[in-house]
């Protein structure tokens, strides 16, 4: 069912295109970088209720911004599917005998790699700005969590791209989804500070657990437990992959 060659070739195509289009790298990283620099530096000395004193705001913020980078890069991965649709390339992919789940997995692996490269660039920038350099083992575990976060959100974009045709529709809807997910996730402030009714929404946001797990491994502080976070994210990402596979099988890709 899963054809490795198909997954590999779709991944390789994404890599070739990523490294050929440098502007894409810079463009996608600008927003999180600005937030990191200005929000991070501006609130550097602020004392946040709900944060242990040993952790400064900047240390707290970095995993949040990494989560944000993953969320936005991943969610926008559907955009390249829309591009392929408009340039007709998706038809070419869909008439090949490759199984739809392999196509979905290929797209996911390509976009996930891109998201993780972006997230690691942000992590390096943070270190330059004063983030305490985590151990290599912590960085490696954080990559595992990054994979899960990217998989979850890439699928939102993929499902959307299987039913939509144009750029504008896609970016409007994806912003409507991604911004609340970002703001509710506790990337910028502790979720415990939110009023109870809104906090419920936070607990429904997959990114909440992603950011929490990233904090757990990168700064050794988390609200839930890393095991619980990873468990929730794993289940979600598998479900989302299946959903994308289903949508790609159903969709008339023209």
């Amino acid at each position: 069912m899963i054809q490795r060659k198909v997954v590999y070739v779709l991944w390789r195509r994404e890599m070739i295109k990523y490294f050929r289009a440098r502007s894409r790298v810079v463009g996608a990283i600008a927003m999180p970088a600005f937030l990191l620099i200005f929000q991070g530096m501006g609130f550097r000395r602020a004392e946040f209720p709900g944060l242990p004193e040993s952790i400064g705001y900047f240390q707290y913020l970095v995993p949040g911004i990494i989560g944000m980078t993953l969320l936005f890069t991943a969610a926008y991965a559907g955009m390249s599917v829309i591009m392929d649709k408009q340039f007709g390339f998706l038809k070419e992919v869909m008439v090949t005998p490759a199984s739809r789940i392999s196509i979905v997995l290929g797209m996911i692996s390509g976009s996930a790699t891109v998201s993780i490269i972006q997230a690691l660039i942000i992590l390096m920038m943070s270190v330059l700005l004063g983030f305490r350099l985590p151990f290599i083992s912590a960085i490696l575990s954080s990559v595992v969590i990054m994979v899960l976060i990217s998989m979850t959100f890439i699928n939102i974009g993929l499902i959307l791209s299987s039913v939509l045709k144009d750029f504008h529709g896609f970016s409007t809807i994806i912003n409507f989804i991604a911004f609340p997910l970002f703001l509710l996730s506790g990337a910028l402030f502790p979720v415990s500070n939110l009023p109870a009714p809104i906090r419920v929404l936070s607990y429904l946001d997959p990114l909440t657990y992603g950011v929490d797990a990233l904090r757990g491994v990168l700064i050794g502080y988390c609200e839930f437990s890393i095991v619980q976070d990873v468990f929730i994210l794993s289940i979600l990402s598998v479900l989302m992959v299946c959903a994308s596979g289903y949508f790609f099988k159903k969709a008339e890709m023209l």
């Binding site: 060659k5 198909v6 070739i16 392929d84 340039f87 070419e92 992919v93 869909m94 090949t96 199984s99």
Partner: protein, 336 residues
């Protein structure tokens, strides 16, 4: 699983596709023999591309069945995909990759191993004459080069059935000729069954073993190009007249040897039988009415004449008259 005793490359039964209220393809049935070069001829929006998109598994039929290379389209789409090659009407290349990368991508999607890929890529690049341009990004290719690359790509996995949707649309005459020759060689040398859509009469006439003329989603007639032209049973006489063309057209319509008349601005296209004896009659009829004929030309009927005879208008007129129709908008929406 495999349908036994079925020698057809394609068998279609009652194929129908509706987009909301609009029926794009209406109960179409035909079959394409193995090794045949089959043409779907019709104006833009007739439903040709919709048929191709259904047969290539991109659209799901509203009703009807189809078997391609012996496999049921509905039950085994992946088997169908394995046996077909498609060259789409609109470009479908990744312009951010080189020609070779596009071909390699495609071959890998078909699970062809590395050595075989290299061999076949070289082979198809030679066929379409792009060997020296293979490592340039496709965004720098000309229209003709892109088309040739798409044809090369469609061949790389040795499909049993090749679909070509308007293969030469928008290409110059010379490139068109070259592509016709590729298609023909491929069909003859490799026995690949080919089904192509076109709205160019000369393309259908030059290439196809059999042609289905399709309009408003239905097949009007299906025959060999020779058989189609023979249907008119006669020769075409084009008469140029300076005055009162309606009068003489009316008079000629009365004659039993006149098969068909198309009246243009100052030209009358008449399809007649036995032109040797009947052309003098045309002159007599004109002089009786006091009308002068300024020139007359005899030719064999073309496919275009057959088309006019069967549909009542030229392929171009049909396109024009539909510009305003609501249907046209529907068609364009689905053709995108």
């Amino acid at each position: 699983m495999k349908v036994l005793f079925n020698m057809s490359a394609i068998t279609i039964k009652g194929l129908t596709k509706k987009f909301g209220e609009f029926t794009a393809v209406d109960d179409v049935s035909f079959s394409v023999e193995s090794g045949e070069l089959f043409g779907l001829l019709g104006p833009n929006g007739a439903g040709k591309s919709t048929i191709i998109n259904m047969l290539t598994t991109l659209l799901i039929p509203t009703a009807g069945d189809a078997y391609i290379a012996g496999y049921d389209l509905r039950k085994h789409p992946e088997k169908v995909r394995n046996n077909i090659g498609v060259i789409f009407q609109d470009p479908s290349l990744d312009i951010g990759l080189t020609g070779r990368e596009n071909l390699d991508f495609h071959a890998m999607m078909y699970n062809i191993n590395s050595d075989e890929r290299k061999k076949r890529i070289r082979e198809v690049l030679d066929i379409v004459g792009l060997a020296d341009k293979a490592d340039i990004l496709v965004e720098n290719y000309s229209g003709g080069m892109k088309r040739r690359l798409e044809i090369a790509r469609g061949l790389i996995h040795y499909p049993k059935v090749l679909f070509l949707d308007e293969p030469t649309l928008g290409l110059d005459a010379q490139t068109r000729r070259t592509i016709w020759d590729y298609i023909r060689d491929l069909n003859r040398n490799y026995g690949t069954s080919v089904i192509l859509t076109t709205h160019y009469m000369e393309e259908a006439d030059y290439l196809c073993d059999r042609i289905a003329i399709i309009d408003h989603g239905k097949i009007i007639v299906l025959d060999t190009p020779f058989g189609l032209k023979n249907r008119l049973q006669g020769d075409r006489v084009s008469v140029t007249i300076e005055e009162d063309i309606g009068l003489i057209a009316g008079a000629l319509r009365e004659k039993e040897w006149v098969r068909d008349i198309v009246q243009n601005d100052r030209m009358l296209d008449v399809v007649i039988s036995d032109h040797e004896t009947n052309i003098p009659d045309i002159f007599q009829t004109a002089s009786k009415l006091g009308i002068g004929i300024s020139s007359i030309k005899i030719s064999k009927p073309s496919l275009e004449d057959v088309f006019i005879h069967l549909t009542g208008s030229t392929i171009r007129e049909q396109e024009g008259s539909r510009k305003t129709a609501k249907q046209d908008r529907m068609r364009r929406r689905m053709l995108r």
